[in-house]
Symmetry: D2
Subunit: 416 residues, 4 copies
């Protein structure tokens, strides 16, 4: 327990194993991105996703305490960097499923976990889960008091059943491989319309098959072209009274807890994309002469741009690991650091990728090369998991305003 940046032997093995899988399985699966419609592209990634499951990568992202193999978020970060740097769409399907499970993992009772998790711990089939927070019309102010709409989806108790009505969008894989729904959906909804948001919103779990889930359209997203981001209706979807995750009315707090870890992983997504772009561009610069005498890496402008990109990569990875460990050890600075990793990583990635496109030149504007795709993927990072302007900086702002805020907390967690 001292400041250290060295992987354990186990972590190193995990890294190499993930890297190999990504190269062997996820790289060829990029082919899916060339199909014409979003749903076709998503469907074409199913074999790769099945391979991810079969190789145990979902298990590796579920904590040991819940029957999985993850020793903590740093381990997940190591795996995710390798996978996402090769295929963002398929990896996001995996991580979207982990996010969908988080309310169960964090807020579920033992009984709920025992009932809901097994299909996700097996190394077979293509199980999907989704965290249904965002709604058409926007959810940047999910916690708004009236007259703000906040969470619009409602759940009404009728006898011992919750009846859920509303619309959701931007939920990874939510409508599943067949438009009929993921295996598990964690749904943020208003369970008490008279209570203030911090007591009137809950997370209900919906298991497949569920009637009333109506697919509307697949979003034609700028990037993550082979990932499914549906817009869909919940029409009188009925679940048992016991399907509340965490406490009734505690939905906003549980959502916050789930998104903290997710934020740190968005930072790692950024590292992964920058790294892929850097490796490509470095190779290009070392070999391409563009009509001139020397490989273009000989030009100072090229070398310096690559140097700046590398600085961004190392800086971001350090911060993300920092945030992941803070989550793992439940540091009081965990939320702050996770948000910082998210903001810094996501905005840095967009900048670095546009810079690297300029190093490569016009060729980078052709999808025959990977940079355009990587940038289109990266553009999501400042926006999803809580947009940087609308949500994430606002959360930091709220912390800073708090009279008890100590700016040095994040600089030190001493050994006790």
């Amino acid at each position: 327990m001292a400041i250290d940046f060295r992987l354990t032997a186990r972590q190193r093995e995990l890294q190499l194993q993930s890297r190999k899988f990504a190269r062997d399985v996820l790289s060829p699966a990029l082919e899916a991105e060339t199909l014409p419609t979003a749903e076709e592209r998503f469907a074409a990634t199913k074999p790769a996703y099945e391979a991810l499951i079969a190789a145990g990568f979902l298990r590796k992202c579920i904590p040991l305490s819940a029957g999985g193999e993850s020793a903590g978020l740093i381990d997940t970060a190591i795996v995710v960097e390798e996978l996402y740097s090769v295929n963002a769409s398929a990896t996001l399907t995996l991580i979207g499923t982990v996010l969908g499970l988080l309310p169960v993992l964090i807020g579920g009772t033992e009984q709920q976990r025992n009932r809901l998790l097994p299909r996700f711990l097996e190394q077979s089939a293509a199980p999907l889960a989704g965290f249904c927070a965002t709604e058409p019309g926007g959810s940047a102010n999910a916690g708004s008091p009236p007259p703000g709409e906040g969470v619009r989806t409602t759940a009404t108790l009728r006898g011992d059943r919750w009846i859920i009505d509303g619309r959701k969008s931007w939920v990874s894989s939510a409508t599943g491989w067949d438009r009929k729904g993921a295996d598990l959906l964690s749904i943020l909804c208003r369970t008490d319309s008279d209570a203030p948001p911090e007591r009137g919103i809950s997370i209900l779990v919906v298991e497949r098959p569920a009637s009333g889930l109506v697919f509307e359209r697949a979003i034609d997203a700028v990037g993550h072209r082979a990932h499914l981001l549906p817009e869909f209706n919940l029409r009188a979807v009925s679940v048992s009274r016991d399907n509340v995750l965490g406490s009734v009315g505690g939905g906003l707090a549980l959502t916050g807890a789930c998104f903290t870890g997710a934020a740190a992983l968005v930072g790692i997504f950024a590292v992964a994309l920058m790294r892929a772009a850097f490796e490509f561009t470095l190779g290009f610069a070392r070999t391409e002469r563009r009509g001139g005498i020397h490989p273009i890496i000989e030009h100072q402008a090229v070398g310096y741009a690559l140097a700046d990109a590398k600085i961004a990569i190392e800086t971001t990875r350090c911060l993300c690991w920092r945030a992941c460990q803070a989550v793992d050890v439940q540091s009081p600075a965990a939320q702050e650091l996770a948000i910082e990793a998210k903001i810094h990583g996501s905005e840095t990635a967009v900048r670095v990728l546009t810079d690297l496109m300029r190093v490569v030149g016009i060729e980078s504007y052709d999808h025959a090369l990977p940079l355009g795709r990587l940038l289109q993927d990266a553009l999501a990072l400042p926006l999803f998991g809580g947009g940087n302007i609308g949500v994430r900086r606002r959360q930091l702002h709220a912390m800073l305003k708090h009279p008890d805020y100590d700016p040095l907390t994040a600089s030190c967690e001493a050994e006790v």
Copy 2:
């Protein structure tokens, strides 16, 4: 003749007329971008392009002295800002044609102009022209001495015919509506392999129909999705000895002259995209509440981001107009200013568009909204017309190193 920023009555009319045309014709033509292949998308813009021709917009970009209606580059800038802000793909087809004609306009003899220009001055059909400079393998070092490849396409004089062999890519509309070639192609090629680049490279003009022009593929570009950027072969394309534009061996210098004006217009492209994105985002911010109580423009972070975008727009437009006028009056600072407009505008647009996406939030990642498209279009601007890192800053660097360089030249062209 004094510092002034006011449009003449004629310019104002030109502006309003272009704005109306863009709204009525070019806006619906965006529909073309949803088709699955690049060639289908391009083909679908043909009616809009025909309407552009019929409304005289190509004539408006050809100088009065050559039979057109353009009083100068500032007029063109005013028109282009209106058109490009609504439909970048179709407008680029128009401007690509103007660029293809520039070697004729700048370097052609009267006889050549009389022969080549008429079909472009008529307000009918869908005439295309292209400036064929870029080649597979890159042309950032087109002027490289050996052993650099520089310009690889060759033209060999056999009797009174030039026989052209080589490959070109990234040339707007070059292979025409039917893969058989644009109406006119200005082709940069090596006419003397023993001479140094500044004396051994020429521009030859190829008129349709020409045998030997072989379409290879349409580039799957990141943006300008309904614009055609082909890769193609020139296999023993034969043209008359008289088809040299400008002097034999003077191709690099003539190319430079053509691309100066083009650089200033790339700056205007940037203005156009930022403006479109700003107007959309302003409207979004004034009306959308995203679940909260107030329209999001009430948030300081939103208002400030919009303010910064507006600053970028006004700043860039001023610089571009400055550059355009310098070109029009043949100021000694014209090349410097045009390059500055290109670099500043293009990089600013990418930054502003990514910022505005963050204002809108995750919704902006959906192609149902325009911001993703606008950004994908903007990503081209730092790369084409001479990449900012590889070519444009290098040109400025060369000027700055010159012992006669006076940094105040650009700050003043006094009336004589």
Copy 3:
């Protein structure tokens, strides 16, 4: 009346004349900056200031309509760029005096102008004026309603005299050459404590000699080291009832009008500092080898950094001229453009100057070279005349929120 960037013959002469004066008189006067205390440094600039007056530079900044020689703000911009690029401190003393006179020029009656202006129109002595807006405790919210303090200085009518009490700070030259006060002070003060800010605040003019003006200290500013920025008391300063400039209660509106033109000039200050730094660094890069074989301008990183600085200079100057003309022709976009010139110019200058210091290297950290001084001067620009974060962007934000705001207004003032 068409878009044009060429100086008239008269403007060119004005430019060259200002340049010569700056080199001959203001450059040697920089020596003042080496003295130990702020007041000594200010005092040492008096001969240079007298020379400015004698050469008619104050007259050149006062409109023709008021007996001066300025044909408009663009003329002033041309003069100021030349002077400020050589000696920011002394030039700010001049412009601070112009600012102090603006309430008279804009809001004064003919009688007031006839009485107050003559001493500033003569080409003799060293007349000073100051606009007293800022107060200890900050004035970013001068227009705040209660319980915000807003403007704290009060003026109470006793008979036919206003009795002024309060404190002011950051007012250029306010306490004059001898701590006894400038020749004229325009003082923003609360004339009706019960009225809302937009009706209860006025500008009163105080002429020298005035009893009750008590010097407290000279601010030890980061830059403008030979310019006087005092903190001082107004203790029962008594002026005639007629000394209100503009209408009683109209002080905030008149202040806004005065600061619009000033904002455009802050942009020109930025141009001047960048230009001085660029010229120095270009010369350094062309001649210095820093132990190597070639002058450092041969390095691409140096040349590109210089190119980017030059782009910033030209861009900013265009925008500032644009804003100045908008003020001159009373365009509806004048305020927006002036603020944009202020924000863009000031922040760009700080960035460019730090970049240029890196080009020069460690040597630039020595005050034997000019870059440190220029940067220390530039640091004021985002802060004074209304801080960019606290005031200026907030003003833009307010405009953007207004339902009548048309984003295209600033892009066109057509000839009528």
Copy 4:
């Protein structure tokens, strides 16, 4: 040995002890900065420096293996962050001494260490050391082959004495408290004018008293106002043949090794300055109303700017710790990471400090507040210890060009 960011109990104690010392001793010593000349200011810090020595802070920066108390560079980083955030000038005097000793610590023989180090290990007096690398005319190209000058100072062997002639500048504390020289100077000089730089340059150690060391002037630096940066002559300074540190001719390599660790510490300097500025600005924003109703931290623009500053601090600290550990464990990525910490930290600090000045507003331009001083200190960081443009990125560029460069080396040092 796993990724971890938690301080050991010992490190936490070291941190708190340093923090207390900084507050009690170094904070009052800032008073020295108000004196008129550089030498007076430096002299006035002597009591604080003696207190640093007496409290063992120099010992804490010398490795255990050499008789000191430092367990590694991370420990030094923890100490330095606390001290430098309070008083950059005095702390730089300490770290400059450590840098001066590094050639002895890294390259010295046991005999040399036994002879030279004891006076620096005692907790008494005010011992100074300096690393004399930089020379008037610049040393960005110290390793240049002819005709570049490279290292100009020469050492000629006459009998068993080296006779050193040349000039040096920018060497912290080099001329000591009395102009007669620091206790120990490590001098980079050319020992073989015919050999190539990598074999002809050595580091010689000069001990006090030494005749021939002639003070020329104290540089009037932009910041670190109470730190001594002299320019001085070495006129036939004579030292024993045994005074070579490391191998004869190995001076450039030894210099590189010394500056690697120093680079990581420059990153920590950046953290320290940002942290000090952040704490001040946070306090200001929480309490100041600037005439308005609420403390300015209520404004989103203020809160977001603070949030961005905090992100920069945490990000930079992580990277610096990463680099320090890489140095400690002699990772193959150590040099890369140290340079990255230096570049990223230094440039980030300048940006963050200018941003925070804007949050505070015009008040920050007054040296009565700390931000101006902190920024003036920060301006050095991109420039010293190898300027970022001239030296540091060039080193990264050279690494990236190397055919064996593996971009993933820096991402992982697995446990063996």
